[in-house]
Symmetry: C2
Subunit: 205 residues, 2 copies
């Protein structure tokens, strides 16, 4: 089945499976099952089997999955068997934490450029990277073929910054501003807003 | 329909609607429609109407929704017409950014206690709050009736910290560690891992 036919809700669960498989691999576990994965992830075994069946040939019921093989297949399907260079825009408290965060490396991503519009921050160094002004965004994105960006600017600026990213060649945006971005159909946006997750839980309390 | 019967996937969209309605309210817009909301959120108007119909009586097709009224109803349904005191555990780069983040206030939440296990951090002040040691977690959670916690500790510690929170009385955990928490059926956990969102997008690139 061509990749474009996999339902997005299924695609959304694959990174969770991949993360758990990587965890199992570091624990030295070589074979797992939909039942075991499901128990660890709070997802039914049937759901996991169905999700993986979209790609076919990963295992047989009762036989278990080879952790290393399934992990490699998922990395390939999610296209993180390569490393995506990323731009990070907005170096406030959160942006700074993201710039320092090592958790994206080895999982397919590396922040290669930092941007902010505050003259006091431009030129500052974070690790190996220097914070650049917004006027550098378009040329740097083009020059380094950056297709993924993280946005951690205030809500009032997020849409404008997203449009600048897309105009420069970015195709996927992870937005931390608490606002829903409007992006054209050929671009992707995902949103992280802690309050959305918190409110989803308080409803049940 | 009693709150417990609303499908969780619907509950998960309500905070997005609430956020957009609050944005509309600050823009002075008093009436909106499922079509307008859908356009802004990238969700079909039919989906929005169906989601809101779970609660009944918010508007009639063709009449539009009263922004203020719908907002108040959603706040009530999500139980954020009150303020939930929260504990934040793990004051590294991300925890520090979360402690400074003002975006949860006015949306139903307030961080009231900070915890870390690093003796060098315990006693440090962030804003009005002093970082406390993990030995203070249980007594403080009990004393202040804290039912919601955010966890920003390394992955290797997250499950243990979550269990300590739950044992003390916490019922809902927002976990930033890149690991799926195992929580009992009477507790809630939500996870924020930027890589999960990034990988969901790169699949399509």
């Amino acid at each position: 089945m061509p990749a474009k036919d996999i339902p997005d809700i299924v695609v959304g669960r694959l990174p969770i499976y991949l993360r758990e498989l990587s965890f199992l691999a570091t624990e030295g576990i070589q074979v797992t099952s939909s039942h075991e994965l499901g128990k660890r992830l709070g997802i039914s075994a049937a759901q996991i089997r169905k999700d993986l069946s979209h790609f076919g040939g990963f295992g047989k019921q009762g036989m278990g999955y080879n952790v290393g093989h399934l992990r490699e297949q998922l990395r390939r399907i999610l296209k993180v068997d390569q490393e995506w260079p990323m731009a990070l825009i907005g170096i406030g408290d959160l942006g700074r934490a993201l710039a320092h965060y090592g958790g994206v490396v080895d999982r397919g991503f590396r922040i290669v450029a930092l941007f902010d519009n505050d003259p006091a921050k431009i030129g500052q160094q974070i690790g190996d990277l220097e914070i650049m002004g917004m006027d550098q965004l378009a040329p740097i994105v083009r020059e380094r073929s950056i297709r993924v960006a993280m946005i951690a600017v205030p809500a009032a600026h997020a849409q404008r910054v997203a449009e600048a990213c897309l105009a420069a060649g970015v195709q996927a945006i992870l937005n931390y501003a608490p606002i829903t971005l409007n992006v054209p159909p050929d671009a992707r946006a995902q949103h992280i807003d802690p309050v959305v997750h918190l409110q989803r839980m308080t409803h049940h309390l």
